[in-house]
């Protein structure tokens, strides 16, 4: 069969099974089987079995359940409360005051958790009721949470960067370190916007409470942050310094999180079991998608679709900017209906040859793709951060999406910034000696 027709049939088939509500992992499997069948391959089952075995035993993937479990453990501790109490005395002088707690807590929690939905849920559970009680603009409280919750994807450790690293065969350690500066930049953008907004909308902030907080009080509050900051420095420092691989850092991180939960008295047999089962659910879901995606990539390779597509796009002689622009649009559209990990595994097989052909750095592209996925986390109809915040506040999803709109624009600005100044991404990984 002609390859163009074949590609179109497969793409349509994928759309139909996904829209019908078949599980994403099984949809990928179905498309791969169908494609191989159409091409007359008679070893489909054998290919599936060997590719699944290879994909599910990959050493670098072992970091995935570790980081997920670490987040699940910390989610069940008093961490979010400690973050709130430790940070708020320091931020009371900034315009926007406690709104910044939302952003900074999310940024800090993102450095121990790999998921944006977990970040938004953990922090929002604590901060949203508090901000409401003190009379902050609810829309802004929801918006800052929705926006900065997406930091969980970018600030290392990040589940989605592990997935990308495995799919694109790029060093996960370098990807993690590459995400650090853009993550910080986003935090600054968010805080800057909030401060400016607060200066113009004083009537939507609580007044009073101008009593100054003494330095000793601030320092005492800061002590609450010590355990988590220690854990962050420990995990990320050991990756950056090249002392451990990301997988080893993840195992140490789980151990550290367990110790931290034990010391703060929030670890019980029940919470341990729940955290473990939670980790099983997420890692099995992602694991099966990865297994199916690996098989699909193999099938695509057999059919020659990525190579043909790369040649076709190459023939259009787009410049790098146009290529990225079209890809951004494609990802945002896909992200409206699929979650971030599915978007990455679905597209990487087909898109990577294009990226390599255009001489785009694969680490830079990983960070770029994560930023685009962050956008899709806060766009309706399917955006997991929106779902989480909807569940937390009971507000309807369109309200949350509108509240998050300024932060959507800020992430877009961040994408432009890393395109103009790719060094924001590539500087730190280049200084790494190992990994």
């Amino acid at each position: 069969m002609e390859i163009t027709a074949l590609s179109i049939i497969l793409a349509l088939f994928m759309l139909i099974v996904l829209a019908a509500g078949l599980w994403v992992s099984l949809s990928l499997l179905a498309v791969a089987i169908f494609g191989l069948y159409l091409s007359g391959n008679d070893q489909i089952g054998l290919l599936f079995a060997t590719s699944s075995w290879g994909a599910s035993t990959a050493w670098s993937l072992t970091a995935l359940p570790m980081f997920i479990w670490m987040g699940e453990i910390l989610f069940r501790t008093r961490l979010s409360e400690d973050l709130f109490k430790g940070l708020s005395p320091w931020l009371s002088k900034l315009p926007g005051k406690l709104l910044h707690v939302n952003i900074l807590s999310c940024g800090i929690f993102a450095a121990v958790s790999g998921s944006s939905a977990a970040t938004a849920a953990t922090i929002g559970r604590m901060t949203l009721p508090e901000l409401k009680a003190q009379g902050y603009s609810e829309r802004m409280a929801v918006g800052t949470l929705a926006g900065s919750g997406t930091l969980g994807l970018l600030i290392p450790p990040s589940i989605i960067l592990i997935v990308y690293g495995v799919a694109a065969e790029v060093s996960i350690a370098r990807l993690f370190i590459a995400g650090a500066l853009p993550g910080l930049m986003l935090v600054i953008l968010f805080m800057g916007y909030t401060a400016v907004w607060a200066s113009f909308n004083r009537d939507e902030l609580p007044r009073g409470d101008e009593r100054s907080i003494s330095l000793t009080e601030k320092i005492v509050a800061l002590r609450k942050l010590l355990p988590i900051v220690g854990l962050i420095l420990f995990v990320l420092g050991s990756i950056y310094g090249g002392f451990t691989t990301p997988t080893e850092a993840a195992a140490l991180g789980v151990f550290g999180a367990l110790v931290l939960a034990l010391l703060t008295g929030t670890l019980s047999i029940e919470s341990f079991k729940q955290s473990l089962l939670g980790a099983v659910r997420s890692s099995c879901m992602i694991g099966l998608i990865l297994v199916a995606a690996h098989f699909l990539t193999l099938a695509m390779g057999f059919l020659g679709i990525p190579r043909e597509l790369a040649q076709w796009i190459g023939g259009l002689s787009l410049n790098t900017f146009e290529l990225l622009l079209y890809l951004t649009v494609l990802f945002v559209i896909l992200g409206c209906f699929l979650d971030g990990i599915s978007v990455v595994v679905l597209t990487v097989a087909v898109v990577l040859p294009l990226i390599q052909q255009a001489n785009i750095d694969l680490i830079w592209f990983g960070i770029y793709i994560v930023l685009v996925v962050e956008l899709s986390q806060i766009t309706p109809p399917v955006g997991f951060n929106l779902f989480v915040i909807q569940a937390l506040t009971g507000k309807d999803i369109l309200y949350v999406a509108r509240a998050a709109l300024p932060f959507f624009m800020l992430i877009l600005a961040a994408i432009l910034l890393i395109s103009w100044f790719p060094q924001i991404v590539t500087y730190l990984p280049q200084t790494m000696t190992r990994g």
Binding site: A19, A20, G21, L22, W23, V24, L26, S27, A30, I33, G45, L46, A49, S52, W53, S56, T57, A58, W59, L61, T62, M66, G71, E72, S116, A117, A121, L153, I159, T247, E248, A250, A251, L252, V254, F255, L276, L277, G278, A279, V280, R281, S283, C284, M285, G287, L288, V291, F337, D339, G340, S342, V373, P381, V382, F384, F387, V388, A391, L392
Partner: protein, 172 residues
Amino acid sequence: MNSIRECFYLSSGYGAGICIILIMLIILAQIVGRMLGFIVPSAEDFSGYCLAAATFLGLAYTFRTGGHIRVTLLIHRLPEKAARVAEALVLLLALGLTSFMSFYSIHLIWESYVFNDVSYGYIPIPLWIPQIPLGVGCVALNIAVLDDFIGMLRGRDPSYLAHEDELKLEES
């Protein structure tokens, strides 16, 4: 009857959980070993096998609790009757696909056994042994899908629906 069923799915979850704990212990042992100057033989192989076991053993539990993601935008908006028909068709397709997975994962174990495949690592391990959880996990998922499909035909709601609207934490 119900308790045996729940026991089966829960053991799928805990089986995977134990493998995750094993991964942590193997990796920690490797780090400690490096500091004290001994080597944990084939640590990468073993943690890889545990990862495969964790991924596949937990599939049934994850399915049962609505952990596998899908696009529910259309199916949740259909009128009730049509939604049930669509759900049954999706389950039938899933049944076919998981049967395919079960058949060929068992086939893989069988072939590794017949051809005496061993791992390349420091300790040669007959590959069929770590491949067993793959087969077991696929069959368990197959049973879970079949269970819900039969329930659907008898007019019960599938198990995963109850959890799909809940707040999910680790989507991405």
